[in-house]
Amino acid sequence: MQAVLRAFFGYFFLVFIVRIVGRRPGRQLTPFEFVLVFFIGGLALTAMVGDERSFTSAACQIVAIALAHYAMTWARAKSKVIARLADGTPLILMETDAKTGPVWRAETMVKMRIQDADVLFSARDHGLKTLQEVDSAVLERNGDISVIPSDGGGSDGQSTAQGPAAKADAA
């Protein structure tokens, strides 16, 4: 029974830690963040397993984590408050103002520990060559940076390969 409780605690504790450490998972993983993920995973394992090395214990813990994850996603879907606490909201990193042109959201960039280079990386990933071709950049809830090209052609930030090229030709 204790093993299952440890698994529940471990799941929610790690979810909390990952939420606090910051939102840069998935494609944005740097080599340093790999260290973080594997080190935390390895350390959590020793405490979760304890001295119970049986198959029963492992199976029950896996089921407990599956259940905890289901409960988490269910609660996230049911409650906007929980969804915000668990995932946060998307954050605008760069926007284009009608008067001043493109501007960085300095506060968001500093507090989310994101650099211009990270946004430029995403811009290149979307087929844009420079930041001048970016209309706005958004840090999504899963840590990806969406980039919207400045000609306004792409609405989802994905179909941008044509947009900037056309703009470059026009210029």
């Binding site: 606090i20 954050l91 706005s136 958004v138």
Partner: protein, 179 residues
Amino acid sequence: MTQAVAKKPVGDSVAKVNEEVAVGEDLGFQRSWWRFERIVWACFVMIIALDLAGAFGRGPLAHARISSADHSLIVRYERIQRTGTPSMMSIRLDAGAVRDGEATLFVSDKLVSALGAQRIIPQPATTRVGNGGLTYTFPVTNPPSTVRIELEPPGPGRFPFEISAGPSASVTADVWVVP
């Protein structure tokens, strides 16, 4: 027969914050979250500092030393221990605790059951059970001499224990075991 498919119109469930892109950003919430994050980071630093100091065991704050009123029995132990983690309790017996070349040491049951005494060094000459604990006898040639008990607590909690080496040499203390 085909079953009906439930459908729902696509609405603007995400707030359209700036003019072009529906982002759903909430800077007010985010600022509160950043404040909360700062508090959590401060707590993390505090946890590490307390751990280095030994507040959760295995550090300077955890080491304790108690002696009996006549100072013939001195016990060094860790007042904060960790579940499943070995620690050594050392019991120093002075001449006052030795009679006829033999020291009699009583340890309460809690030391064995709750604090998980694994072994006692050196091996006692005799062991008797009763009176809520174990009574060991050790042949002593040239006091002071030290008896060590290896502990490995199986679970968390607060556990009082008692050790005595005769009627005038007795100590009681608490051990906190963290999960």
